[in-house]
């Protein structure tokens, strides 16, 4: 991983990173990827990929409306609202 890779993934994750830390991140992340490369050598044809650490399956809920309108409550947290809408910096399409 080089500087550009680190900057790209930081941007995708919207993480603000310090320029002086980039070299260290690149080194650490490369080490992790090296470990992955090492693990890729293990024969795993017989192993089912694990998508979740718990050995359980998803519980399903009945299709019922259980939530009430709590807009006022939730919008107390919002920096800006207008006629029920959350306001965000202009997004131009």
């Amino acid at each position: 991983m080089d500087k550009a890779d680190v900057e790209k993934i930081a941007h995708l994750a919207r993480l603000a990173i310090d320029q002086k830390d980039i070299a260290r991140y690149a080194r650490d992340l490369s080490n992790i990827l090296d470990l992955v490369k090492q693990m890729e050598k293990v024969e795993t044809n017989e192993v089912i990929p694990m998508s979740h650490p718990l050995d359980a399956t998803q519980r399903l809920r009945p299709d019922e409306i259980t939530e009430t309108n709590q807009r006022e409550h939730f919008q107390k947290n919002a920096p800006l609202v207008d006629t029920g809408l959350y306001l965000v910096p202009k997004v131009i399409e």
């Binding site: 995708l12 994750a13 919207r14 998508s51 979740h52 718990l54 359980a56 399956t57 998803q58 519980r59 399903l60 809920r61 009945p62 299709d63 019922e64 409306i65 259980t66 939530e67 309108n69 709590q70 807009r71 939730f74 919008q75 800006l80 207008d82 006629t83 029920g84 809408l85 959350y86 306001l87 965000v88 910096p89 202009k90 997004v91 131009i92 399409e93």
Partner: protein
């Protein structure tokens, strides 16, 4: 050069559940902004999504109706991107293990044939997959204090995204496929299919290659296709555009383009909006979804008669042509209307089909209504075709009765009585009119008898007029010929 276009569609269908896919908030359309967006939909810290059973059932239903494999184990993943209408910063979707895999759908469409007649073509379109996911909210770009307003009522509404194989070769085929999927989800009652409200949306992947080549060309993705007409136009435009690019020595760039219906053109989305680097990973909040054979079989038992099966039955049971049967089964409501009309008419299958497809469809079309809004219901139309079949009404009188029914003047029999529109079939009465016409026009009679056959129409016209249009035209013709040759 001869080019071939290659088209695949991604259709998003909102599932008709009461509550959201991962929360108990209502999915009702048109509510006050953000009154149906709960803590789970807002992605507040500490919430846990719990999967809606009905959403799973509906996806399975779709899979069964398209001869797909239902994955006994499917997995939800996070699709990561940032946009204000996606509060969590990721969309919960399915990536590697979707619930519906590898099915197909047969489509039919009309194409100009070698002669003047159009030709009905058909093909099987592969369905790569259909996966469950949550919808995003809506951004409103009108000016709110110079900012964008966000309504998250739609966030978390269940969707299935239906991905086709790149099996279609023209805009027409793509529309036929889209219509078929649209009819299917409505038959299955898993989606209301309302395109204006965004319940049924479509993206198209399009590429061009020299005819005969195996290798696919570079594709573009078209978004914002919210009507059947736009899909057809946008694809046609995009095919032409790509051909132009290639024939002038350019290269098609892989990109997402938006269709602009006002100018009938496609435009590239700005590259910034296109971070196609979603970094999918399994969602740790959701466990693998397991559906067992019992679950699937119980759903199979609830499947209604599907469009293809209904079409075959209409052909065999009612003796309809494949085209008529296809048309009448294109929507569940239309098919039901037809069957009710046939019953009310006492079994007039072909007559009822014609009246629905010609007079009723024409009248509805004129005012932009669909069959569910028709002022003439199936019972009324059946009552009309019954009276045509038993000879009470001629075609011409039947149209008058239809117009009166359309205006809300009641049932066919009431209108016939009230307006005295009963057709005259009584031979004595008709003979009387004929005798009168013959007696009053000796010159024309002589000419007719001398071989001027065309004059028959002259006499028919006189007699019909004398009967105020109520004489049975077939009977008039028959009796007139006899009498004139006496």
């Amino acid at each position: 050069m001869n080019w071939e276009s290659v088209i695949g569609l991604e259709i998003h269908a909102q599932l008709a559940t009461n509550s959201k896919i991962f929360s108990g908030a209502s999915t009702r359309y048109g509510g006050e902004p953000n009154t149906q967006a709960c803590a789970v939909d807002l992605g507040l810290p500490g919430v846990l999504p719990v999967l809606n059973r009905e959403a799973v059932s509906m996806a399975v239903k779709f899979g069964l109706a398209t001869a797909s494999t239902i994955a006994s184990r499917s997995v939800f993943a996070r699709k990561n991107y940032f946009y204000p209408d996606l509060p969590k910063g990721y969309q919960i979707s399915q990536y590697e293990l979707p619930i519906v895999q590898g099915g197909h759908l047969d489509i039919q469409w009309e194409e100009a044939g070698s002669g003047s007649e159009s030709e009905t073509k058909s093909k099987r379109v592969g369905i790569t997959r259909a996966h469950l996911e949550e919808d995003a909210g809506k951004s409103l770009h009108e000016d709110f204090q110079g900012m964008t307003g966000v309504d998250l009522n739609r966030a978390g509404t269940p969707l299935i995204e239906i991905v086709s194989e790149p099996d279609m070769r023209s805009a027409r085929e793509a529309v036929a496929y889209m219509r078929k999927i649209h009819a299917l989800v409505r038959y299955l009652e898993i989606c209301d299919g309302n395109m204006q409200e965004g319940s049924f949306r479509c993206d198209a992947n399009i590429s061009i290659r020299p005819k005969g080549d195996e290798k696919l060309g570079t594709r573009t993705e078209l978004k914002n296709l919210n009507s059947f007409r736009f899909v057809e136009r946008a694809i046609e435009y995009e095919i032409e555009r790509q051909i132009d690019v290639l024939e002038t020595g350019g290269k098609v760039i892989q990109e997402t383009r938006l269709y602009d219906p006002d100018n009938n053109e496609t435009r590239p989305m700005r590259s910034k909006e296109e971070a196609n680097d979603y970094r999918y990973f399994p969602d740790p909040d959701l466990l693998p979804v397991v559906v067992d054979a019992d679950f699937v079989e119980n759903i199979r038992d609830t499947l209604p008669e599907l469009p293809d099966a209904k079409k075959s039955r209409f052909e065999s049971e009612y003796g309809l042509s494949p085209i008529d049967a296809g048309l009448l089964t294109s929507g569940r409501e239309l098919a039901e209307f037809y069957e009710k009309t046939v019953t009310a008419s006492g079994g007039q299958a072909k007559l009822s089909a014609n009246w629905i497809m010609v007079e009723l469809a024409g009248a509805l079309n004129k005012v932009g209504m669909d069959i569910t809004e028709s002022p003439v219901d199936a019972g009324m139309l059946g009552g009309l075709t019954r009276r045509i079949a038993d000879g009470t009404l001629s075609g011409k009188l039947a149209k008058q009765v239809f117009d009166a029914m359309w205006k809300g003047e009641g049932h066919a029999d009431d209108i016939i009585d009230a307006k005295g529109l009963r057709q005259v079939t009584d031979t004595g009465e008709i003979d009387g009119l004929i005798d009168e016409a013959i007696a009053n026009n000796p010159a024309q009679v002589a000419q007719y008898r001398a071989g001027k056959d065309k004059l028959l129409g002259f006499f028919v016209g006189l007699i019909m007029k004398a009967s105020k249009g109520k004489a049975n035209p077939g009977k008039v013709n028959e009796r007139l010929r006899t009498k004139l040759s006496e």
